[in-house]
């Protein structure tokens, strides 16, 4: 069966009645899929559904044609998952913890040691592999989380806000790693930071208020914002007023004022220059069109 993850009208309603995800339709093939959306858009809930930690309350999710609610193990065998928040066993070393999770994932015992070493190397933890996790920094733990997701060489890799807690250097390294890993697998990267995915994602899915607002390539998203992004320079004292009135994607202080990039239906002023949108502008324009807060 082809490597495909299909979401058919997937929805998730919490017990209190709050509908976090509603009517999501997606068909995802190998490559990096960037799942973008503001905080509270429903991304993490959708990630939990896709990783079999929660069952969709409506619709269904098919992995290689199998309903994951009925046969979760079909997906779990090929899944690597890095949740947004996770804990570790602090009394174990990173190597022991990964060996434990390798056993959890059902890796053959004889290949565990080599695979653990390989994954530790991929995330740059080879030299501290025997230190207890209790002594690891937040960024190092995050890297352990990434390593554990790779242990079973997953065909479906789901990473939820993976760069939170990483320093800029680690963040860049992680992006490169993800790009290398993509190949023949499906990588779903959920984030609210556009720069995390702008260079690597071949497909984007944008969520807001629990629903899917866009699914397509970054180029299509950017093309949709064409003619809705302007550049202008204003006196710095006008910046606050402009922020309140317009959606500003970027502001940079210059010698003669503040250069702002504005996203909107109409030009903010007569002297505003139309510019080609980048992914961040296009994302903001999409949210603005749908009345969502970034």
């Amino acid at each position: 069966m082809a490597l495909e993850l299909a979401l058919q009208s997937v929805g998730y309603r919490y017990r209190g009645g709050y509908e976090a995800v509603s009517g999501v339709e997606l068909a995802l093939q190998p490559g990096i899929v960037g799942l973008l959306g503001p905080n509270g858009a429903g991304k993490s809930t959708l990630m939990r559904v896709l990783s079999t930690l929660a069952k969709a309350t409506t619709g269904r999710v098919l992995w290689r044609g199998e309903d994951i609610a009925r046969k979760p193990d079909a997906l779990r065998r090929e899944l690597g998952y890095l949740p947004q928040d996770f804990g570790v066993y602090e009394a174990l070393s990173a190597r022991e913890f990964l060996a434990f999770l390798a056993a959890v994932k059902g890796l053959p015992a004889r290949s565990v040691a080599a695979r653990v070493d390989e994954c530790m190397g991929m995330v740059g933890l080879g030299e501290v592999a025997d230190r207890r996790l209790g002594g690891y920094s937040g960024g190092m733990r995050q890297r352990v989380g990434i390593a554990q997701a790779l242990l079973n060489d997953p065909k479906l890799l789901i990473v939820d806000e993976p760069t939170v807690g990483l320093d800029p250097e680690e963040r860049v390294r992680f992006r490169h790693l993800l790009a290398e890993l993509a190949g023949e697998r499906l990588v779903i990267l959920s984030t609210h930071i556009v720069s995390d995915i702008e260079a690597s994602a071949g497909t984007l899915a944008v969520m807001a208020n629990g629903t899917l607002r866009f699914h397509g390539t970054p180029e299509v998203l950017m093309a949709a914002a064409e003619g809705h992004v302007w550049n202008l320079t204003i006196p710095s004292e006008q910046l606050a007023e402009m922020r309140a009135r317009l959606r500003i994607s970027r502001a940079q202080r210059r010698a003669h004022g503040v250069e702002v990039r504005v996203v909107g239906e109409l030009a903010p002023s007569a002297d505003a220059q139309p510019v080609a949108p980048d992914l961040e502008d296009a994302y903001l324009w999409l949210l603005q069109r749908h009345g969502a807060q970034s």
Binding site: R15, R48, S51, T52, L53, A54, K55, P72, D73, R76, R77, L79, Y81, P83, D85, F86, G87, V88, Y89, E90, A91, L92, E96, A99, F100, L101, A102, A103, V104, K105, G106, L107, P108, A109, V112, R132, G134, G135, G145, Q148
Partner: protein
Amino acid sequence: MAAAAPWGAIVNRLRAVAAVLVADLRQRLRTPRFWLLVAGLAALMWWCFPAADRDFLTVSVGDGMRGRYSSAWIGMVVALMYSTTLSLAGFYLVRGTLVRDIETRAWQLLVATTMSRAAYLLAKWLSHLVVFLLVMAAGLAVGLLVQWLRAEDLRIDLVELVKPVLVLTLPSLALTAACAVWFDLVPWLRRSAGNVLFFVLWVMLMTLGVSQADQRPDAPMPFPGDPHGLLLAEHDLSRDWPAIDPGKELGLSIGTQALQDKPPVLLEWNRWTPDAGGLRARGFWSGLALVVLALAVPLLDRCAAHVGSPGKARGDGARLRWLEALLAPLQRSAFGALVAAEVRLVLRPRRAWWWLALLVALGVQAFAPDKAMVVAMIAAWMLALDAFARLVLREQETGTAALVFTAPDMRRRLLAVRAVVAIGLAWALVLPALLRLAWSHPQAALAAVVVGVSLAAWGLATGAVFRNGRVFELLALAAAYVSVQGALVLNVVIDPMTTLRWHLLTLPLALVVLTLGWWKQPAFAR
């Protein structure tokens, strides 16, 4: 304006206390489980008021005597029952709220405000007391219902009903609430060690009360008496009923007393008038609770800095190279590797004193006479109480559920691993005794094997259902305490076949509870 400023500061402090108190209570009271527990405890109170034609008493005096069910006597029964039982069980019920603030880092948000440390701790203590008051109010409501239904004395007197609870029980529970704050605060008391230590403390305080008892009708009330108010109750009942059994002491008894086909003798008691000395004694214990609480204030910041899992609070533990050698063969299979990891996680965080205590217990099991051997067996099981109680909670406590339960078939496999480790641990801890008994007393050895399985199963089951280890820890400690004194629960030598039979009978229930609880855990369901 100058006069208004201090007043405003006081109001602000009170508002801060109220805000923490309300938030804390919301967090506790918004779970159906809490209200079920309150209803359950209230229902148990019904059992404390048997009808006159029943063959047992729960609170009695002399030989088969009790007060007629007036408001005053019902209030006294409720007060005595809660003063003794809730002062123990209540600790396990209310503790954990500070730990939650510290572990969830909510404490960091509070630290950054102008709220004083004293106000914060006072709010937590008050929150514990409000929970106790809710439980007691439910018990008193049941008492009122009893008074109406039993119709032995239909004059409702709310002041007399509530008075014993306020005078006797409240100081006792105030002390328990202060202990709950302390045990949440001190890092090494936050979990099982604290639960065990509080049980020991409670037994000591109980013994303190009993050891001071002088039940002659004219005996003075010792100051300050006992924290639970038993001495005061006995003193005042003895004063009010000087002639129920001439020449003998009153014999106040709390707990089931069989009447052996005799109807109970009902005594009139409509009013309780504690004297100034008695009130001073109760005031002393209330004051002591506040002092204990105040002593925690300077430690708050230092203790709260110990954030993180217990493993971190306790340090990384020993490397245990001998254990690695033992576990090496297990690594050859996936199931064995999981077992090995569990064993490491259970044993590594243990400190030197734990290993020393275990060594002593194993030595006593191997060489001491039978009586001491049984005590050493029970002690060894209690040493691993936290493992039995919390093994099933590991993912919840370490936040690893999302990593572990996204693996195929993991619920079933992990449950099997945990069961193997828990049972293996229960047997390993009493191995010398098992070997000795297998030779000299095979039935007792068999009983020990079954008790080991039962401890493991009930530990896992209660953890899965209640999602904390405290319930099992309390039950197991109580079972250990009575077993050391000769009860059959964990004592496998006195009447091994009865012990074995009872454990075998309850085992299927434990397995059903475990299965339901484990599969219903929200971390990996919806």
